[in-house]
Subunit: 392 residues, 4 copies
C-alpha cells in the first residue's frame, strides 16, 4: 500500500518553466508534485507571456516576486536566495528543453523535464555529463509508468511467467489531428513545426511513451535493427509525420512493431502494449490502466485488476497502490507516483545517499536519452527509404 | 475545464475525526481535501488509539499539540484557538457519526460526514435543524458523484434525451465477504455488528451509494412504495444482511431494482446504474467511470467518454474535467471535486453568500437524510416479511 | 466433437404447423431440423392463409398435395399415408399450441412445440398424460439451451466449482417495443392480445427462456416462494405487461431475480444469467454465447471460450461443438443441437429403447410444464398486489 | 432478409476431395453446401486412406460406389455418368490444390477450392485460363467474407462514410503453435513442411484471410510496395515462418500493416481489421463477427450490430441476414452464404446467364490469384533481407 506518511525533512523547493495557464500539461505536473507533500511550489517562469505568468502564478498562490518573466531570470534570482529552488520542472514546447535543462543543471538544480528530453543524442549525453558532474538528478516525465499494472507486468516478465519474450506490439494512435486542426490550435501548431518540435512529430510526441512502457517492462531488451515508415497524411505537416510504423529486431531475437498516429480517426488514445512470450502474453491499455490482460496459452483468458492480493508484491507496484481495489485510479496517481520517486531520489542525492538513488526506480536520464536515440534511428531509416538500419 | 486557479482567500482550517493510519477511507479524505489548496489540515482525532493518533498525525505534518486523544477534546481545544478548525470530517465507524456530527455542529463547525450519516431519520432531522440554526454546512461523502459522467447523465435526463424515465436498475454487489472474513478483519467486524453499523450492513454500507447516483441523476423522482428482501448468507451476520434486493415504485410510474451484496463472489465492485427511458437508456459502471453507455432505441449503441466536446457543457460536469480526454481520471478526482464543492459552499456560508450556497451542488444533509430514510424503509419491509410498504 | 456421422436408419418424416413465409421463427426450425440429416420435411400447414401455405411449401420443395390449408386436415390426411409424418413442429401464435399439440399427440405424432407450451398447468398436465399413454415425445424449443457453454455451466455447478449456490440473476430485457409498434406489426399485435398470447406478454414470451437457463444449469433447484411486479408502460397493452421483475426464494436458500422487458430502450436482447455461489460466479450472455465469465473470489476474472480443451468433457457439451474454437458458433447451431436430441429421443422411443430416451437430455414436457407453472405463479402474485406467494 | 425459398431447378450435384473424417475443415464445407438445398452431395474422394473414405462416405449417406479411393478415379468415373458431379470442392492439404483443381477444371467441373489456391501466380493464371476457356466457376473459400458486417463495411467505405482511406491494419494472430506441437499433430505437420504447405506457413494459412477482408471492403485498393519480415520462433519450422509482419503502400497513398502469427500465446484467433479514413474508422473482429465498431472523429464510439434497420440495405448484406438481430450468427452462416453465391454463379454459368455470373459477388479466381500473388511478394521481400519490393 502507498505510504501516505512518507515525508522529507523539508519539502523540496520547486519551480516550473512553462506549464502556464491553459497549457496542456502544466496542471498535472503541479497536481503530481504537490500531491504528497514532497515538493513545495515557490517559483515559476510559467509562460511565454510575462504578464500572464505573473497573473497565473499569483493566482495559484506564489509570491509575485517569484513569478519570473523568463526562465533565465528565474535561475539567476533564485540562485541568490538562501531559500531558492532546488529543482525545476520544464514543461515548455520541445525546442526549449535542451537549453533550459542545461542551464538549470549548470545552475545546480535538479531537473524534471518533459519528453522528448532534447533533439539529439549528443545533447542528451551533454545533459547526462553535466548532471553527473554536478550530482544532480534528471527525471523525464514518461507519465504512464507510475501505474501499478506496469510494474506488475515488469515483474511477471522478470519472473518468467511469459516464457521467452518473442513479440512486442506497441501503439499510441489517436485521431485528434485527422484534419488540419493546427490552423486554430497553437498547442498543436508548434508540434508540427520542425524548429519547435524537433525531427519528428508523433514519433517524439507520443511514440516514445509506448516504447518506454516496453523499456520499463523489459529493461534487458535492446534494439539491434529498426525500420521506420512515416507519413504526413495532412500534407502541410511534412516533413513531420502524423503517422508512422516502426519495426524492430531485439537482441534476444524478439521483434517489435510500434504504430504511432495522430490520424487514427475516432480513437482517443489507443496507447497499448502487448508482450508475447513463449508461454503467455500480457496486454495493457492506458485508457483502462487498472487492468492487465493475461493470456496463458491453452488456458482461459484472465483479467488482472489493480490492488488485488494475487498481484506481485513488488515494492514499486505496491507503493503505487493508493486505495482498495475496484476503485478506479487514474493518470494523476501515476504521475504522483513518479514525482514521489523523483523526490526520493533527489532527496537522497542531496543527502549523498547513493544507494537510495540507485535503488529508486524512476524515468531518468537514461529513459530520456534512449527516447531521443530511438527518434534519431527512426529518422535515419525513414529518410533512407524506410530501409532497415543498424541501431546506434 | 477544471479551474486550477480557484482559491479561497484563506484555505479552510480543517480537522479530522477517524481516518487514522490503516483505515480504509482516511487517505482519500485527505487527498481530496488537500488537492486543490482549499483546505489545510491542522488538527485531528484520527484514531481510537491516542498514541497511534499522535504518531500518525505528526508523521503527516501536524503539530503534536493538535493531535488529540479524542474528538471531544479536539472540539474543546480548537474552540479556544483563534486559528481553530472551521470544518471537520468524520470518518469513523458508523455508530459515532451522529454524536460526533452533532457535537461538531454545536461547536459551530461545518461537518463533512461519512455515510450513513446516522442511524435514524429523527437523528438526521436533528442534525439538519442544528446546522440550519447555526448556519452550517453538512456534506456527506457520497464519493462517486464527483465524476463528470454522473453529471452528464443528469443533464441528458433533464434535457429529455431518454424520454420519460421508466426503469432504474442499480447495483453495488461485490464478493469480498463471501466467506466469514470478519474473523480476521476488524474493518469488517464492526460493519456486521448492529451496535456499530446500524440496522443494516450492505444496504447502508454500499446500497445508499448506488441509490444516491439515481437521486443525483433524477432529483425529481420520489419513491412511493418499496419492498426489500434481505439475506445473511453467512449466518452469523444475522440480523445484518450481506445481500439484499430492493424494488421501488416511483412517483412518476417508474420502477426501480437495487441489488446490494457482499457475497457476489468474484465481483470487485459492480456498482452500476442503468436508467431506461421511453427513448433511450444510459448505463454507468464505477470501475470504468470515464465512460457512459448511451443506447437510443433503434440506433447503434454509443460509448460516451469523459472530456469530449460532444458532452453537455454543464457547469458541474465541465469543472470536473481535470485533464484532456483519453487520460483516465479516477476516484481521487471524483472526491476532490466534491471537496472543492464543500469548500465553495462553506466559504460562501461563512461569507453569508446564500445564493452561492444554494447554487452549489454537493452531497448535502438532504443526501444524508434520504439515505437514512431509505434504510429505515428497507428494514421496515424486510422485517415485515418483505412486504411492500408505503415510503415514509 | 460433434459427430457428423450420426444418422438414423431413416430420417424422421416431419411436418410443420405455422412458421410460414415471413414468420419470425419458422426458418430456424427448418434450418435446425434439416441440418444434420435426421429429419425430412414432407408436409406442412404453415400458414393461416392456405394459398400462401401452398405457395411457400412448394417453393421450399414440398409436394403440393402435402401443403395443407389447415392443421386438422394435415393430421387427418397424413394419418392415412403409409409414409405419413411421424413428428410435427408447432410454430404458431401461442393460443393454438394446446389444441394443436393435443390433436397431434392424439393422432400418434411426436410433438415439438414452441414456448409457452400452453396457457395453464392443467393443459400441460393433459398433454403430458396423453404423451405418456401414447409413448410420444414432447420437445419444447427453448432454443438457447443447445449452446456448449450452457452445459459447461451446468457441469461446473454440478462439480461444485461455484460452491453452494446463493444468488441467481436472470434477465431477458430488450427494447424493441418501447413504443406502441404493434400498430404496424402483426407479429407483435397477437403477443399483446390476451386471447392469443395467454395471461402474460413478456413473462411468457421471453422470461421463461431465461428461467429455463437456470433450470438446465441447476436441475435440483426448486422455487418455494415468488413475487412478481409487472407493468404496462404502453398503457394499451394492459393487462399484459411489457416489463416485469420476479423475485424467487429457492429450496436451498438461494434467491433469484428475473428481469423481463420489451421496453429496455436500446437493448437488443440482454438475455443474461449470473449464478453466484459461495466460491465463485459464472455469467453468460446470449449475444456472445461462446463465452462464459468465471469469477473465483480473490482470483483474476476468467473468460472461458467455447471449444477449448480446458472445458468439461461432458457428453452434451462436447457433442455441441461443431468447429474448432475461436470460430463463432451461433443460434443456428444451438437449435440444431436440440433438434438432434429430439431426433435421438424420438427414434429411441419408436424403437422402444427407454434407456436412450431417459439418458438423452433435451427441453421436454417437463421444461414446457414448468414454464407454464412459473407464469401461473407470477400472475397470481402480480394480481395480488405483487405479494409473495407460495409456489405451487 | 435471407431468402429461404431460393432454389435451383435441381440442386447441383456435388463431390468433395479431402475433408474426410477428422479433418479440420471438411464438415463446414458440407454444412455450408447442404444448408440451403442448393447442392446435393453425391460423390467423394474424402481421404488419403481409401478405406476410411468409404467408411466415412457411406456413413454420411453416400452410395458406396461413389466413395472413391482417389480423386482421379472420381473424376474419371463421374464423367461417365449422366448424373455425375457438376462441381467439386477441394479440401486437402495445400500441395494438392493445383493439380486437383486443374484436373477438375479439365474434366469440365466447377471448382470450389481451399486457400491458398496454389503455390505460384503462374499456376493460378493457368487455372484461370482453363476455367475461362471451359466456362467454369472457381470459388475460393475465404470463409469469413459471408458475414453481413463485412458487406456493411464495404458499403460504408464505398459511400464515403470513412472519408479517404489512410490506414489498414490487419491481423490473424493465434497462439496455438507457440510450442512445437506439430510433433503430435499431423494436421499441423504438413502445414510447416514446405513441400506440402508451399513457400510460407502463416502467411498463406491465415494471412491471406485477413488480407482478403481488406480486398472485399476496398476493391479499388492496390498494393504498390511491400515489405515482409518473417520469423520461425520454433526453429525447426524454418524456412517456414510462424510469425510475420507485412507493411504495404497502396496506390491511393494509404498504408497497411498485417500481422500474422501462430505463436501469439493465449490468443484464439485475433483476426481483426481496422480501416482508418480521414473522417472515421471501422473495426471488425472475427470472434464477435456480428458487431462492427464505427468511430467518427469527435463523436462517441458506436457499435453496429448485425440485422438492424440502420445498416445499409445492400443486396449482399441483406441476404446474409438469416434471423432477427440480437441472435448470434456464426461462421456456419458465413460459409453457407458463400456456398449460396457459388451455387447461384455456377447455375447461371451453366445456364449461360453471364450477367448473373458477373453480378454475383463471391470469392472467386481473382481472390485466389491475388492471395497467391501476395505470398509471392512477401517471400521475395523476406528473402531479400526484408527489403521493400515493388509489388508485381
Ligand atoms: N508527458 C506527457 O504525457 C505529455 C503530455 C503533453 C505534453 N507533453 C510535453 O510537455 C511539453 C509542453 O506541452 P504542452 O502540450 O503542455 O504545450 P502547450 O503549448 O499547451 O503549453 C506550453 C506552455 O509553455 C509555455 N512556454 C512556451 N515557451 C516558453 C518559454 N520560453 N518560457 C516559459 N514558458 C514557455 C507556454 O506559455 C505554455 O504555458 C511538450 O514538450 C510536450 O511534448 C508531455
Ligand atoms: N464514502 C465511501 O466510499 C466509504 C468507503 C469506505 C468507508 N466509508 C465509511 O467511512 C467510515 C469509516 O470506514 P473505514 O472503512 O475507513 O473504517 P476503518 O475501520 O477502516 O477505520 C476507522 C477509523 O476510525 C478510527 N476510529 C474509530 N473509532 C474512533 C473514535 N471514537 N474516535 C476517533 N477515531 C476513531 C479508527 O481508529 C480508524 O482509524 C464508515 O462510516 C464507512 O461507512 C465510506
Ligand atoms: N423459441 C424461440 O426463441 C421463439 C422465438 C420467437 C417466437 N417463438 C414462438 O413461436 C411462435 C410463433 O411466433 P412467431 O414470432 O414466429 O409468430 P409470427 O406471427 O411471426 O408467425 C406465426 C406463423 O404461424 C402461422 N399461423 C398462424 N395461425 C396459424 C394456424 N392456425 N395454422 C397454421 N399456421 C398458422 C402464421 O401464418 C405465421 O406463419 C410463438 O409461440 C412464439 O412464442 C419462439
Ligand atoms: N478456409 C478456411 O478457413 C480453412 C480452415 C482450415 C483449413 N483450410 C484449408 O483447408 C485445407 C485442408 O486443411 P485441413 O486443416 O482440413 O487439413 P487436415 O489435415 O485436417 O485434413 C485434410 C484432409 O484431406 C485428406 N486428404 C489428404 N490428401 C488427400 C488426397 N490426396 N486425396 C484425398 N484426400 C486427401 C485427408 O485424409 C484429410 O481428410 C488446407 O488447404 C487448408 O489451408 C481452410
Amino acid at each position: 500500500m502507498f505510504n501516505e506518511e512518507l515525508r522529507l525533512e523539508k519539502p523540496l523547493r520547486w519551480g516550473m518553466i512553462g506549464g502556464g495557464r491553459g497549457s496542456q500539461i502544466g496542471y498535472i505536473h503541479r497536481s503530481a508534485a504537490l500531491r504528497d507533500g514532497l515538493f513545495t511550489l515557490v517559483a515559476g517562469a510559467f509562460d511565454i507571456d510575462p504578464e500572464r505568468c505573473e497573473d497565473f502564478g499569483t493566482h495559484i498562490g506564489l509570491d509575485k516576486a517569484r513569478c519570473y518573466p523568463d526562465y533565465k531570470m528565474m535561475l539567476e534570482e533564485e540562485a541568490k536566495r538562501h531559500d531558492g529552488i532546488q529543482v525545476v520542472s520544464i514543461a515548455t514546447p520541445n525546442k526549449f528543453h535542451y537549453e533550459m535543462a542545461k542551464a538549470a543543471l549548470e545552475a545546480g538544480l535538479h531537473v524534471i523535464c518533459e519528453k522528448p528530453l532534447c533533439f539529439t543524442v549528443a545533447e542528451a549525453e551533454t545533459l547526462k555529463t553535466i548532471a553527473e558532474k554536478n550530482k544532480l538528478i534528471i527525471g523525464v516525465t514518461y507519465g504512464y509508468t507510475g501505474y501499478q499494472m506496469i510494474h506488475q507486468a515488469r515483474k511477471m516478465i522478470e519472473n518468467g511467467d511469459l516464457g521467452d519474450i518473442r513479440i512486442i506490439n506497441m501503439s499510441f494512435a489517436h485521431g485528434w489531428h485527422s484534419e488540419e486542426v493546427e490552423k486554430n490550435d497553437p498547442g498543436l501548431k508548434w508540434r508540427v513545426t520542425p524548429e519547435q518540435s524537433g525531427p519528428t512529430y508523433v514519433l517524439g510526441d507520443i511514440g516514445t511513451h509506448a516504447l518506454y512502457l516496453a523499456e520499463v517492462m523489459m529493461p534487458e531488451l535492446k534494439i539491434e535493427q529498426l525500420m521506420c515508415s512515416r507519413q504526413s497524411f495532412i500534407a502541410s505537416r511534412a516533413p513531420l509525420e502524423d503517422n508512422a510504423v516502426v519495426l524492430m529486431n531485439f537482441n534476444n531475437g524478439a521483434v517489435g512493431n510500434l504504430w504511432v498516429s495522430a490520424v487514427n480517426a475516432g480513437a482517443i488514445h489507443e496507447q497499448r502494449i502487448r508482450v508475447v512470450g513463449s508461454k503467455a502474453s500480457i496486454e495493457w491499455w492506458d485508457e483502462h490502466p487498472n487492468q492487465l490482460v493475461y493470456e496463458v496459452q491453452g488456458k482461459p483468458k484472465q483479467l488482472l485488476d489493480r490492488g488485488h492480493g494475487y498481484l506481485y508484491h513488488d515494492d514499486m507496484a505496491v507503493t503505487c497502490d493508493r486505495i482498495g481495489c475496484g476503485h478506479a485510479e487514474g493518470l494523476f496517481e501515476s504521475w504522483a507516483n513518479l514525482y514521489q520517486r523523483y523526490a526520493i531520489a533527489i532527496d537522497a542525492m542531496i543527502g549523498g545517499d547513493k544507494e537510495t538513488v540507485e535503488n529508486t526506480w524512476f524515468p531518468d536520464i537514461h529513459a530520456g536519452l534512449e527516447g531521443v536515440r530511438f527518434i534519431e534511428n527512426c529518422v535515419r531509416s525513414a529518410d533512407n527509404g524506410s530501409a532497415w538500419v543498424d541501431y546506434k
